[in-house]
């Protein structure tokens, strides 16, 4: 079918301009690999670690390690940095690992979506799960997004913990009725009698010439719906952690993935860990300016940072992770230190995450700002098909460098 062939092409053609092999630490290798989707996956059984804890602490950077590198080495768990343990995998495999672990842990967890069963999902996130858990727990649905999202809501209200996979986030616009009118609402309107612990996930964002309908950034549309939580993953580490946290949460959670990040490789811990849904990730500490970003733009920011650091700037980079609600604690602490903010997002200018974040920052941290908050976003246009035009709609590293120069002088 049409869309699946696109998915395959994406898998094998990702070694273009996005290779970032700047990190020298053996533990942290972020490299896009040109692997096809049928690559054998490395599934390492997680050892029993933190099993009861829902709040494994993910991310404060150890400042002392960062001096010699252009971009800071992020050590999520210091103990792992010391040894070479952990296992390497791609982001889509990390998602699958998280999903599989949760399905093993809790028999109520199930997956619904188009082609998630034997086909393994368009981006192979559910590959192998149908064989392992059966057809009913990994359910192939007919093509009716509003309805299978409705099914998930109904199943969640009566005791299951479903994960809905949208083949592409843009298709979930068809499910908007169920998500807004029911998913976000029924816990409230039933007086707390019914909970809706669903996870709605799927790839969004601008890909490689997928066309306007397949390049939607739904985070803008969902951010206003009360009752929903929304997170965006950007690395294999946080992808797995957020998947697990989202499944364990009692609230409906939207997990935004990005089409171009599925083949991102990273070494993640063997032990079980869960990320916090409401906490932002401090990617690189600094003192000149706070750069807030999420999803794929994190990687563009990191690339720009190389250039910025060479020019003598010291940016503090925060991956906001939690799009709803914002982690104003982490963001605020950063702003109090740097007094300048640049938001880099892939959303459209109007009504995007950046727009809301700006408003939140102004409400809360106005007194700490030395300059107007800058925001780099995509233009308010449907994403064109032509590669050159498409690239112009996404914020690129040179733009980020220019913006920082403007902001910091």
């Amino acid at each position: 079918m049409g869309l699946s062939s696109i998915a395959y092409d994406l898998g094998s053609g990702l070694n273009g301009p996005m290779s970032i092999s700047h990190l020298s630490s053996p533990r942290q290798q972020l490299a896009f690999s040109a692997k096809s989707c049928s690559r054998a996956c490395i599934t390492v059984r997680a050892a029993d670690g933190n099993s009861g804890s829902m709040r494994a602490p993910p991310s404060t950077v150890r400042a002392s390690k960062l001096v010699t590198n252009a971009v800071a080495v992020k050590s999520e768990t210091a103990s792992i940095a010391a040894t070479k343990s952990g296992h390497e995998l791609l982001l889509f495999e990390a998602l699958r690992e998280g999903l599989e672990e949760e399905m093993e842990r809790d028999p109520r967890v199930c997956v619904l979506g188009e082609d998630v069963g034997h086909y393994g999902g368009s981006y192979k996130v559910t590959k192998g799960l149908a064989e392992k858990f059966g057809d009913l727990r990994v359910l192939d649905t007919p093509i009716a997004e509003n309805s299978f999202t409705g099914m998930a809501v109904g199943a969640a209200m009566t005791g299951l913990r479903p994960i809905v996979e949208g083949m592409n986030m843009g298709f979930l616009l068809l499910a908007y009725n169920q998500i807004s009118n029911n998913c976000g609402m029924l816990h409230y309107t039933s007086g707390g009698q019914f909970t809706i612990p669903v996870v709605i996930r799927g790839p969004g964002g601008v890909g490689r010439q997928l066309g306007a309908e397949h390049s939607q950034r739904l985070e803008s549309y969902f951010q206003s719906v009360p009752g929903l939580q929304m997170v965006a993953c950007s690395t294999p580490y946080n992808a797995k952690g957020l998947m697990k946290a989202a499944i364990r949460s009692e609230n409906p959670v939207i997990l935004c993935e990005h089409v171009l990040l599925y083949n991102l490789k990273e070494r993640i811990p063997d032990e079980e860990y869960v990320c916090c849904l409401e906490r932002a990730e401090l990617v690189r500490p600094g003192k000149d300016v706070t750069i807030l970003t999420y999803s794929r733009m994190r990687h563009h920011v990191l690339q720009a940072a190389k250039s910025l650091i060479n020019k003598g700037y010291d940016p503090e980079i925060i991956d906001i992770i939690s799009l709803k609600p914002f982690d104003l604690h982490t963001i605020g602490n950063s702003i109090k230190k740097t007094h300048k903010v640049l938001i880099v997002e892939e959303c459209m200018r109007t009504g995007g995450i950046g727009a809301s974040l700006r408003a939140s920052i102004m409400d809360n941290f106005w007194d700490y700002l030395d300059a107007p908050i800058m925001c780099l976003s995509s233009q308010d246009v449907p994403t064109p098909y032509a590669g050159t035009l498409e690239e112009a709609t996404v914020v690129q590293p040179p733009q980020i460098v220019k913006a920082i120069k403007q902001l910091c002088g």
Binding site: M151, M157, T158, L186, Y188, G227
Partner: protein, 341 residues
């Protein structure tokens, strides 16, 4: 069963009048459809999960929701299980397996299929039941829900109250198919059409359908033909689009409650005296229940912010504090019966 039908009828009449008098803000009656409500409810088990549209309070009534609870929800007072967050008639009770009513049409249909999917996985001796009107069968959710249920082999009952009208749209303008039962056939779902005003027919149809659904893991569609005697809701005046004669005819000559009454009386199981006593008693109960509900406090302001999430997040806490501060500062501009806590 008959008593419950009468109770439903009396409740509807009195609550409707209460709305007209300004005592409650909104109401939706079930007049003319009592047989479907009670007949189907009686044929289900207490563990069957119900996803209703909004014209099925009889099902909740059958399961034990008290008149006081109905009134509390309509008044949105502190005893309302929904904590005052929904419009009147949007009842819900976790305990009685009746999911909180959500107004958008037919959204409950795929949800019921989802619940049935869960029941099938757990191998429970229960089914999911969903109700909707003739208008609901035009929604995309209805079609996909039926399709899914058939493909999945989900134990769900689709009960369509074909009452002839979707607000002002008659069925002749709603679909051109031969009613709703044929739509089930198209999806491979066993369907049956029953006289929705014959309580016993509805009872037996649902009873058998339930058995098939649960034992054979298949969905069943039941089209119950009836007539919406009342207006769509208290915001509607149906005489604007249909003749008063038509309404009167169905209200008097085709009343399902009267029909069952005649059947019972002809078998000497009921008589006029019982009837009068029952209605009298119900009216008194109803009035006191309304009065009771009216006098109760409304839920406190904190209920505005709770249950949006499982744990109240920081931004909502801030918004709550702001709101409390404003209401505290200008109490005259806000309702006096809403406690600040």
């Amino acid at each position: 069963m008959y008593r419950k039908m009468v109770t439903l009828q009396v409740m509807d009449t009195i609550f409707y009048d209460a709305q007209r008098q300004g005592r409650i803000s909104f109401y939706v009656t079930t007049i003319g459809e009592e047989a479907i409500n009670i007949g189907s409810a009686a044929a289900l088990n207490a563990t069957d999960v119900v996803f209703s549209q909004y014209r099925e309070p009889g099902v909740l009534m059958w399961r034990g929701f008290t008149l006081q609870q109905f009134a509390n929800q309509c008044y949105g007072n502190e005893y309302d299980l929904g904590k005052g967050r929904q419009m009147p008639v949007h009842y819900g009770s976790n305990e009685l397996n009746y999911l909180t009513v959500s107004s958008p049409i037919a959204t409950q249909v795929p949800q019921a299929v989802g619940a049935a999917y869960g029941l099938k996985m757990d191998k429970k001796d229960a089914c999911a039941v969903t109700y909707f009107g003739d208008g609901g069968t035009s929604e995309g959710d209805f079609h996909a829900g039926m399709n899914f249920a058939a493909v999945l082999g989900a134990p769900v009952l689709f009960i369509c109250r074909n009452n002839g009208w979707a607000i002002s749209t008659p069925t002749s303008e709603q679909f051109r198919s031969d009613g709703v039962a044929i739509k089930g056939q198209a999806y491979g779902v066993r369907s049956i059409r029953v006289d929705g005003n014959d309580a016993l027919a509805v009872y037996f149809a649902v009873k058998n359908a339930r058995k098939m659904a649960v034992e054979e893991f298949r969905p069943i569609l039941i089209e119950a033909l009836t007539y919406r005697v009342g207006h769509h809701s208290t915001s509607d005046d149906s005489s604007k689009y249909r003749s008063v004669d038509e309404i009167e005819y169905w209200r008097t000559r085709r009343d399902p409650v009267a029909r069952l009454r005649m059947f019972l009386q002809s078998n000497r199981w009921w008589d006029d005296e019982n009837e009068d006593l029952l209605r009298q008693d119900l009216r008194t109960q109803m009035m006191s229940v309304l009065h009771n509900a009216e006098s109760k406090k409304k839920p406190g302001l904190s209920n505005l912010f709770e249950d949006v999430y499982d744990v109240i997040p920081q931004n909502l806490k801030e918004q709550e504090q702001e709101t409390q501060a404003i209401v505290g500062k200008y109490p005259k501009d806000y309702p006096s019966d809403v406690p600040l806590d």
